[in-house]
Symmetry: C2
Amino acid sequence: MPPCGSDALRAEAPGLARLGPAGTLRAVEIRAYDETDWPQVWPIVRQIVRAADTFPYDPDMTEQEARDIWIERPPGLTVVASDVGRVVGTAKMGPNKPGPASHISTASFMVPGAARGMGVGTALCRFALDWARAHGYAGMQFNAVVETNRAAVDIYERLGFELIGTVPGAFDHPDQGRVGLHIMYIAF
Amino acid sequence: MPPCGSDALRAEAPGLARLGPAGTLRAVEIRAYDETDWPQVWPIVRQIVRAADTFPYDPDMTEQEARDIWIERPPGLTVVASDVGRVVGTAKMGPNKPGPASHISTASFMVPGAARGMGVGTALCRFALDWARAHGYAGMQFNAVVETNRAAVDIYERLGFELIGTVPGAFDHPDQGRVGLHIMYIAF
């Protein structure tokens, strides 16, 4: 896999993603996360982690823990989706596992409740796929997609991910009890 | 899941595992790892990590990195299999993921080349399953079993794990090229 220093990241970001006709956003710029974005990123991460219905993260995580988990270091990358300066989503991407498995990428996406249904998640996922292809990865794997998170599953399937399998009851949903976690994959 | 402090760990370890008739070992004591075990554990981890044919770990990891990865803190546990004071294998176990997925356990096992084929891996896996059941987990998941590691796959299948799915080509084997990574699971 080619090295990806900060120059390479700057060269490929920002990107502009057009949103669907239902959107009230005009267009979303997806660009590398900057430290000054944290005051807008943390409320998004906090909302999603505290809800505990889509991510296998500790719902009580502190702000510092969230920062350590969400902000990737090279060779990974964290990005934000920005609508005229307002952060309406964030994603992180990088190798799924180290060593002999490091040619497979992974990514995670967070879109706050107020910005859902407008194509931000799809735009972030497309960006991550383009990024992973450009950096020489052979595919992208999601390790734990909550099966009741239909919005996410639909986006991934539409973009070409296949279902590898489902671990039954592996996620304790606050409303729906124990539901499955999908492993999903796309080869490049 | 009930808390599992060091008292609980001491109470359930050590355990004695009888080995099959082919073994040249008499019996293996499986007990909680102690800091004084590291000089015997590190050569095992180093051998397996450097070979890069069974674990998705960085083959160049340092001794300190290996220690950080292999030695679990509560609620996880690291154990050694000991044959009259000689460490012939090691395992780690704990929650597979945090938060809403923390009721599913995971485990990893390492047996050095010289001690293979004598039932040590099976004994370690049985120990991990007993430990996970005793600590209230609902199942155990393996996230990345190299499909060419038949010895491991056979043990897991014999002990009741099912194949959830295989990510094709996700592991770059030094001799066999890109082979699949199995996700395996057993419900308790």
